[in-house]
């Protein structure tokens, strides 16, 4: 039985909810589609707020406690909005032995932010990744969706300061 979007009761009339609703309908609103739908919501809004968790749980028939449990279990999901720019520094083995710790230290030293932190002006969020799979570019990072490789600590800090 298909449920029309109106019956899903999105938290607001923000158009981005339609993306989430579409994904839910495509997956037949099955409870096992929870992770897929959380992905859709985070893609649309950038993070998952309590309204989103409650709405998704209700629409898929999953208790809020479980939705929260899943959203906090996976490191890909974030419950807080990121800054204007996002810099993901790879800390995989190849990047680690090629100097990723020095890059993170330089960022902290010059921009005052560590992993999972955002600058006070909300300009930059720094994250780390387990491995980007770009090992031949080590050390590597993703700055606003674009992979940069063969980094030097100074070069990274300069690039971030120029944002």
């Amino acid at each position: 039985m298909a449920i029309r979007p109106a019956e899903l009761g999105a938290p607001s009339d923000d158009k981005r909810w339609r993306i989430v609703e579409t994904r839910m309908r495509r997956t037949g609103q099955r409870p096992d589609a929870l992770i897929e739908v959380l992905h859709a919501a985070q893609e649309a809004f950038g993070y998952l707020d309590p309204d989103a968790l409650e709405f998704i749980g209700g629409a898929l028939g999953v208790p809020l406690s479980k939705v929260y449990g899943v959203a906090t279990f996976y490191s890909f999901f974030t419950l807080k909005p990121h800054g204007q720019h996002t810099c993901v520094v790879c800390t995989g083995t190849a990047c680690y032995i090629n100097g990723a710790p020095r890059i993170l230290a330089e960022i902290r030293g010059r921009l005052g932010v560590g992993p999972r932190e955002t600058t006070e002006d909300d300009k930059l969020s720094v994250l780390t990744a387990r491995c980007l799979g770009a090992c031949s570019l080590a050390p590597a990072m993703i700055l606003d969706g674009e992979v940069h490789g063969k980094l030097t600590p100074g070069g990274v800090a300069e690039r971030l300061e120029a944002l």
């Binding site: 959380l38 800390t91 190849a94 940069h148 490789g149």
Partner: protein
């Protein structure tokens, strides 16, 4: 080149995929479009090259966007397959040499001898990588694509397919090396319907990018392997569980699933038979433990990726408690070749216990970082020095790390050991999924052990105490040692606690977490002693705490 209605058919067709000449191609340029080269702007290279070839009036030259060419360190890469010339670090602004080379290719040219990086390899799972356009079903079909699936469903019984896989001696390429044929047979025998097939594409080991490359370069191959497996075990539904950190692999998989379904190669009535097989894509969300099969299934079901005790094994009670076959990307990628060429052919490659080839991601302090596929049984020295080209800056080799956080560090004295499941285990490491990280004298082995323990500590799902608490305690011990704050009893504490975590953890993550500690203690004990007794780090990596006043 804009076309208007009613105009004569243009001499050549330009499209997103590159440039296809009207007649047979005299020469072609294969431009790598896998993640590593793409991040070095190889998409701009293929666009600029297409324009340059058109401008130069080379009407019989093709420009093709292909998957991984392997030598990622030198990207963006462009290969001229007719002559075997490889152009490295190609810039979209400097294409004169490449265009001239394409113009100079003689009809019927033969490939020049390849450098050791390529000559030493044997490609089965990656045979199409760098040769076909991963976003084109036609190109896959033109390279014997889906021939094995057609053969299986039209000319073989499911039992014959399983026998062929059993005869091939293929073992799981995800790391544990469980015989694939045996796993398939167990799923068939298990009561319960429906049965499921899962492709584990949650490549979580840091430093491993084999599966990513296979999915980006030849996604149909994996789907074909899964469909053959579905036929062999009696499943009609498959899932690919792919990590979200691989957006390009995810996009190409989605394209491949859509194209294959439209062509009747997935879905109901495959090749006009009774057999039907659907594939659904599921995204991971950044949890290393989901590479463990029971945790992976919990995640496919939409929950937290917490592992469960085995037995029951997934083959008996897996996804939604139904019999489920889980194999890794590379395992499935081998299946079409096994069915096409026969199990005996595959079994003729490699060693007695480890048949076939293995794909390795070569990275770290080695000259030729990239993706390599070698027959089982080659030595580590051949991989690191002949194929890998040795250590960067001419420094001294220290260790090669295989198996990620579940593996170990292998020192120089074992470099002449053959690469196979048993040999690697004997020296205290594992085959793992295929990450191979080369370390030189700039790496401190205590620091490396600490790095992996930090990884396991953070990735522990927290369900069982030995893993949740044990890895944290082990990390603290390693931190004390590496910062020069340890006491003489710490070494013994480290060994005892490692043994306990190994023996008592619930799943593979915890059971294997101490492996890097064991292997570094075994081969690099002197480095631990230097940190504990002399309070120095021989490699100069660790920062030692200021000496406290004695006693």
């Amino acid at each position: 080149m804009t076309e208007t209605a009613g105009e004569r058919r243009p001499a050549r067709r330009r499209h997103r995929q590159g440039l296809v000449p009207e007649g047979p191609a005299r020469a072609s340029a294969h431009v790598c479009q896998a993640a590593s080269c793409l991040s070095a702007q190889s998409d701009l290279v293929s666009e600029a090259l297409t324009e340059r070839v058109v401008a130069a009036g080379l009407g019989d030259v093709a420009v093709k966007r292909v998957g991984c060419l392997g030598l990622c360190a030198a990207g963006p890469l462009v290969e001229v397959p007719e002559t075997g010339e490889l152009f490295e670090r190609v810039s979209p602004g400097e294409l004169d040499g490449l265009v001239a080379a394409l113009g100079a290719v003689q009809p019927g040219a033969t490939r020049r001898p390849q450098p050791p990086f390529f000559a030493r390899q044997l490609r089965i799972a990656t045979e199409n990588s760098g040769r076909i356009d991963p976003e084109s079903l036609d190109d896959y079909l033109a390279n014997r694509g889906y021939a094995a699936l057609r053969k299986a469903v039209t000319a073989m019984t499911p039992a014959e397919v399983r026998d062929e896989v059993t005869r091939s001696g293929l073992r799981g390429r995800g790391g544990a090396g469980y015989p694939t044929g045996l796993k398939w047979t167990t799923v068939v025998k298990a009561p319960g319907e429906p049965k499921y097939v899962i492709c584990n594409a949650d490549e979580g080991d840091p430093g491993a990018f084999m599966d990513r490359s296979v999915l980006e370069s030849d996604p149909h191959r994996v789907l074909e392997g899964m469909a053959i497996a579905g036929y062999a075990v009696g499943a009609r539904q498959g899932f690919v569980y792919c990590r979200a950190e691989y957006p390009l692999a995810v996009a190409r998989l989605k394209t491949a699933i859509r194209l294959a379904a439209r062509a009747g190669l997935l879905g109901s009535a495959i090749a006009d038979t009774q057999f039907g097989f659907e594939v659904e894509l599921r995204l991971g969300a950044g949890a290393y433990v989901c590479g463990e099969e029971t945790a992976l299934m919990a995640s496919v079901e939409g929950g937290r990726g917490s592992p469960s005790p085995r037995p029951p094994y997934p083959a008996v009670a897996g996804l939604w408690a139904r019999p489920t076959l889980i194999n890794n990307v590379e395992t499935f990628a081998n299946v079409p070749a096994v069915i096409r060429n026969g199990g005996d052919w595959f079994a003729g490659i490699g060693t007695a216990s480890s048949r076939g080839t293995k794909v390795f991601a070569l990275a770290g302090r080695v000259v030729n970082t990239g993706l390599v596929e070698v027959p089982m049984g080659v030595t580590l020295r051949q991989v690191v020095f002949d194929i890998g080209g040795g250590i960067v800056d001419g420094r001294a080799f220290k260790a090669v790390q295989t198996g990620g956080p579940s593996g170990g560090c292998i020192p120089e004295e074992h470099l002449d050991m053959p690469v196979d499941y048993e040999s690697l285990k004997q020296v205290g490491s594992i085959m793992g999924s295929g990450g191979m990280i080369v370390m030189d004298d700039t790496s401190c082995m205590v620091d490396v052990a600490k790095y992996f323990m930090d990884f396991c500590r953070e990735e522990s799902c927290g369900k069982c105490v030995p893993c949740r608490v044990g890895t944290t305690q082990l990390h603290q011990l390693l931190d004390r040692i590496s910062s020069g704050r340890s006491d003489p009893g710490d070494m013994e504490r480290l060994e005892r606690l490692s043994g306990m975590v190994q023996k008592t953890s619930l799943c593979g993550l915890g059971q294997n977490a101490p492996n890097p500690v064991f292997s570094t203690l075994r081969y690099f004990r002197h480095e631990y002693l230097a940190h504990i007794q002399d309070r120095t780090c021989p490699a100069g990596v660790c920062t030692m705490a200021a000496q406290e006043v004695a006693n």
